[in-house]
Symmetry: none
Subunit: 238 residues, 2 copies
DNA sequence: CGTTTCATGACAGAGCGATGACACTACCGT
DNA sequence: ACGGTAGTGTCATCGCTCTGTCATGAAACG
């Protein structure tokens, strides 16, 4: 579901252990990861669903990374696809040539995960592939993820970190009911141990924070089901 | 006038004919070019007006290119300065060491102008150096990258090199929240190992430097998220 | 009317940022 | 060459905010 909102990274690499390692670390960072073992498979996958970023090994079985890179750059559809090349230390001289063929960055093996993540983020940001930065609105509430600000009727609200994430989650799925378990998984994280009742408390804190005196409550309680972001009484209307 | 908007390249090279050739070709490509004959002069020029990119000969009279490179990497102010090394064919093995000392790329003489231009463009693009030499403003703060000067309400401020770059970074992305990792990558450089908490300290130093008595703090702390350049709490007031 | 489900207030502890101090380095002028 | 000065990165500590949990009261449902 929310996988569609994650940046999609395609790894083209024939060493399976390295792929596993990369996949693990990248998914932990919130990326969606696919992999291809050789250039041909990579081309197929890219054609049917272009990734947001390509991690490309310089040395590949059938088609070299540089060759793949060059082919991609010739296609108008993939001309601006962000590419990071993975090269071995000994190939340093040639690796630089990767830049000439159109790679946007490169990193030499062995590399630290942090360095790679940093480059990925920098490149994604530079190529403007971060759609999750749009302002979210509902009724008279506006939340801006970039500036981390929440307004109601133009009035600034102060939310704690958890309340902020909670509201952001609801704003991304308005009018939909979520069970406490759903909310815990989405807002707290999948493998966090927290009592489901804690959600109640944070819902209350969220209400207290966003509902000024005389304003309508936009958080709806659905008995035996969960909560939803919705105008409470004003729903029905035959 | 428009010279201020062109990417500024400094050539450090002692062979005058090569300098002339490079200058001619680079200027034709729309770059602004200066040159220095030895390491000392280069250091001076870089200190008073850092270029967007440095073309550095490996072999220099007084101070070797590698030594200059290493010195630059030690200065916080020039830590992320993009550097391309120029080396002779016979020095190939040692050239790789140039990368270890912090050069971002290198090219062996003799080289074609096209290859050099390609690397320059790739590196400028990669290092995200949008050659904005325009003055930056926010609220009552004004920063002039060219003269390296910061004013608040017309009053000159004294910032250390790191604080200067920190403020410059924030001024380029006003009102946006950045995590400590983001700030480290952007201001310190990607592969530098520095504790994320260090950002706190420099934020504090920046605040101390720019906030005169009775002036509003324009650096906003966002708990669990990071920092932003923004007018803060002066909202509420029921 | 009893049972289930949610709302609320309180609270102890964890988490997080602000701050001051300190050791270390680079730089400048004498 | 040498000493003073400024700048940098790290740490320990303080204080505040936020967080998760419980106990209790209120409300909805059969």
């Amino acid at each position: 579901m929310s996988d569609q909102n994650k940046p999609y990274i395609l790894i083209v690499e024939d060493e399976a252990p390295l792929v596993t390692l990369l996949r693990y670390n990248l998914e932990k960072q919130g990326f969606r990861v696919e992999d291809a073992g050789d250039g041909g498979e990579a081309l197929t996958r890219i054609t049917e669903a272009p990734p947001d970023l390509l991690l490309l090994d310089w040395m590949l079985p059938t088609m070299s990374g540089i060759e793949l890179c060059r082919q991609l750059r010739r296609r108008p559809a993939n001309r601006t696809l962000p590419i990071i090349m993975l090269t071995a230390r000994a190939e340093d001289q040639d690796a630089v040539r990767g830049l000439d063929t159109g790679a946007d960055d490169y990193i030499t093996k062995p590399f630290s995960t942090e360095a790679l993540i940093a480059r990925i983020r920098a490149l994604l940001r530079r190529s403007g592939t971060v759609p999750t930065k749009l302002k979210l609105n509902f009724h008279d509430i506006s939340l801006d993820p970039a500036s981390h600000r929440v307004l109601r009727n133009g009035r600034a609200l102060h939310l704690g970190p958890t309340e902020f994430r909670l509201l952001e989650f609801f704003l991304r799925h308005p009018k939909r009911v979520f069970s406490r378990e759903d909310v815990l998984n989405a807002v707290w994280g999948r493998d966090i141990h927290v009592e489901p009742r804690t959600v109640d408390v944070h819902i209350r804190r969220l209400r207290k924070a966003i509902n000024g005196p005389g304003e309508t409550d936009i958080v709806r309680t659905v008995r035996a089901a969960g909560y939803a972001l919705d105008l409470d009484g004003t729903v029905a209307a035959a």
